[in-house]
């Protein structure tokens, strides 16, 4: 029954399914199992068809793919237009997608095109009676809301790093999408890739952030730790307001929300707006000179000390452990 199916939108990243895409597929599989339906994967972009085996191994019963050149670069009008047609035809109960920057661009457009309810930045999803229920932070994470999506398809955009890929294989049928790709009116004129080795803050597994305690724009001790852990560097609002880091690095209610496996807060006191941006991190470490800093009450591990001594020593200790 299609109305119990769940469809995952899987984006491609350098010729492979993106990590957020496999997380979405894992969440889709779990929700589909709860509903008693099948798991579909829609994968769009360069070499999308080549991802079929990997998607089948991660839970997809049916893989719908399109390698139409009009899908690259990813423009919301083109992707939303094609996906709306694919979703209308497949008729699933729910659609899930990683809440990446592309998805943020796409979500509203797709929801309006399908006249379907959407929930963004979900940290949990479930089936509850006739409704799909999404748990998502609101007011900068000061409250968690359970949102009931009453109409089908329910569009669920998942916070990166929260859901896990499925270990269950699916049936793995493959079908090429035949719908035409609409021509987007907005077009990319130029694109500057992120420097090699730099990880997008909102998708990083490890985030090392600095605050007022950095005392200036030199974040090199944090950058070295982040590089050692293949992570990204973030900043508190006060560090950004001081002009020490760009706005794009800000973690908090008026900046980015991150959910890494490891969050290291250095010289950050822990204002409520900052905590809002990192509260769903799995493990939080705080390094601060002030033993009374509120950040310690939100940390799994606290170190009272001078970050300019402790952080380089930590980088060295981790390097040694790795041998």
């Amino acid at each position: 029954m299609a109305d119990k199916d769940v469809l995952a939108i899987v984006q491609m990243d350098g010729g492979k399914p993106a990590k957020a895409g496999l997380e979405a597929l894992g969440a889709a599989r779990e929700l589909a199992d709860a509903l008693g339906g099948g798991t579909l994967a829609a994968v769009l972009g360069e070499k999308a068809g080549g991802a079929a085996d990997e998607l089948a191994a991660h839970g997809a019963d049916l893989i719908l793919y399109s390698e139409d050149p009009g899908l690259v670069p990813c423009m919301a009008e083109a992707h939303a237009g094609l996906l709306a047609a694919v979703i209308s035809e497949a008729g699933p109960r729910a659609v899930v997608m990683g809440h990446t920057l592309r998805a943020k661009d796409l979500a509203g457009r797709l929801s309006a095109a399908l006249d379907a309810p959407a929930a963004t930045d979900c940290v949990a999803i479930s089936a509850d009676g006739g409704d799909i229920v999404a748990t998502r932070p609101m007011y900068g994470g000061k409250v968690f809301a359970r949102v009931a999506l009453k109409a089908a398809p329910a569009l669920l955009f998942l916070r990166p790093n929260v859901f896990s890929p499925s270990r269950e294989a699916g049936k793995g049928a493959v079908r090429e999408i035949s719908h035409p790709v609409p021509e987007p009116r907005a077009k990319v004129e130029s694109f500057e890739p992120r420097p090699a080795g730099k990880v997008e803050l909102t998708e990083a597994d490890v985030v090392v952030s600095g605050g007022r305690g950095m005392g200036g724009p030199d974040f090199s001790v944090l950058e070295e730790l982040a590089a050692e852990l293949s992570g990204a560097v973030g900043a508190s609002r006060s560090a950004v307001d001081e002009g020490w880091r760009p706005h794009s690095d800000q973690v908090g209610q008026t900046g980015k929300t991150v959910s890494p496996t490891l969050y290291v807060a250095c010289g950050i006191s822990g204002a409520v707006q900052h905590l809002a941006g990192m509260s769903t991190s799995k493990v939080v470490v705080a390094v601060n000179k002030d033993p009374e800093a509120p950040i310690f009450s939100k940390a799994d591990y606290g170190v009272v000390g001078d970050l300019f001594e402790v952080v380089p020593a930590l980088t060295e200790a981790i390097r040694k452990r790795k041998g």
Partner: protein, 260 residues
């Protein structure tokens, strides 16, 4: 150019938030209401575009209850020319899609070359309404702009996307959502606040827009709210030197937390 800016009134981000007795909304008492910070970037950008061009109008459009008129006035005090507030009891439980439908209808009769909106509001954090309005009006959009410039019949926008930063050109009319870093919004001057009191602010209900309550009926609703999950009490790392502290922390992260 005639520019429309979509704004929303939200609780100040410094405010403590408590859950109301119904368990599915926040308590309104004692909240300070402000213009959503991302929408302030949008208002500021609209003003700068017209100041640079030496002409044009800025119309601020919001959906909300009567108190949201203060937010519209605040935008008028910054320098916008006129305001429209869509205020209807049927919108009180509306979801993003319902609000977008009301806003799209409100602006569809106006002359505009560009619509600006915040990339998200700091209350529900959905980030949906701007692109929804673009879809409903069948115009292109660009999300999360960090620079905006007009060139002839198109708008050129720089925005972060997966993997890097893109410069996107969209033909006008278009909708652009504003990201932090786009600009530094001005404070309203005393003169601006005085002038704003005399600027036109029109309130409209849904029927004035030709919409019924059913047209904007919510397809999603908050069923319950809870405080964020509590983190178990943490552990302070001991050590007499930075090296010892670092070694003990690395050991805890590797052996206990198993995250490195």
């Amino acid at each position: 150019m005639d520019i429309i800016v979509l704004i929303k009134q939200v609780p100040d981000t410094g405010a403590a938030v408590s859950i109301a007795a119904d368990g599915a909304s926040i308590a309104a008492e004692g909240l300070k209401w402000v213009v959503n910070p991302y929408d302030e970037y949008a208002v500021e950008e609209a003003l700068r575009i017209n100041e640079a061009a030496g002409g044009g109008t800025v119309t601020v459009v919001s959906a909300g209850e009567a108190r949201a008129a203060q937010a519209v006035r605040a935008a008028l005090a910054m320098g916008a020319d006129r305001g429209v507030l869509v205020n209807d009891p049927a919108l009180s439980g509306a979801d993003s899609l319902g609000v977008a439908k009301a806003l799209a209808k409100a602006v569809s009769g106006m002359d505009f070359g560009l619509i600006l909106a915040g990339s998200r509001a700091v209350d529900d954090e959905a980030g949906l309404v701007g692109p929804m309005v673009a879809q409903l009006l069948d115009i292109p959009h660009v999300s999360m702009a960090t620079t905006v410039s007009l060139e002839g019949d198109s708008v050129l926008v720089e925005a972060a996307t997966d993997g890097g930063t893109a410069v996107v050109r969209a033909p006008l009319p278009a909708l652009v959502t504003a990201e932090k870093g786009l600009n530094e919004p001005r404070f309203a001057s005393m003169m601006g606040i005085m002038k704003a009191k005399k600027k036109p602010l029109e309130e409209k209900d849904l029927s004035a827009l030709g919409l019924s309550a059913e047209d904007v009926a919510a397809k999603s609703a908050v069923a319950a709210m809870s405080p964020p999950p509590a983190r178990p009490p943490g552990k302070m790392i001991s050590g007499d030197t930075p090296e010892q502290l670092a070694e003990n922390l690395a050991a805890a992260l590797a052996d206990e937390a198993k995250v490195i």
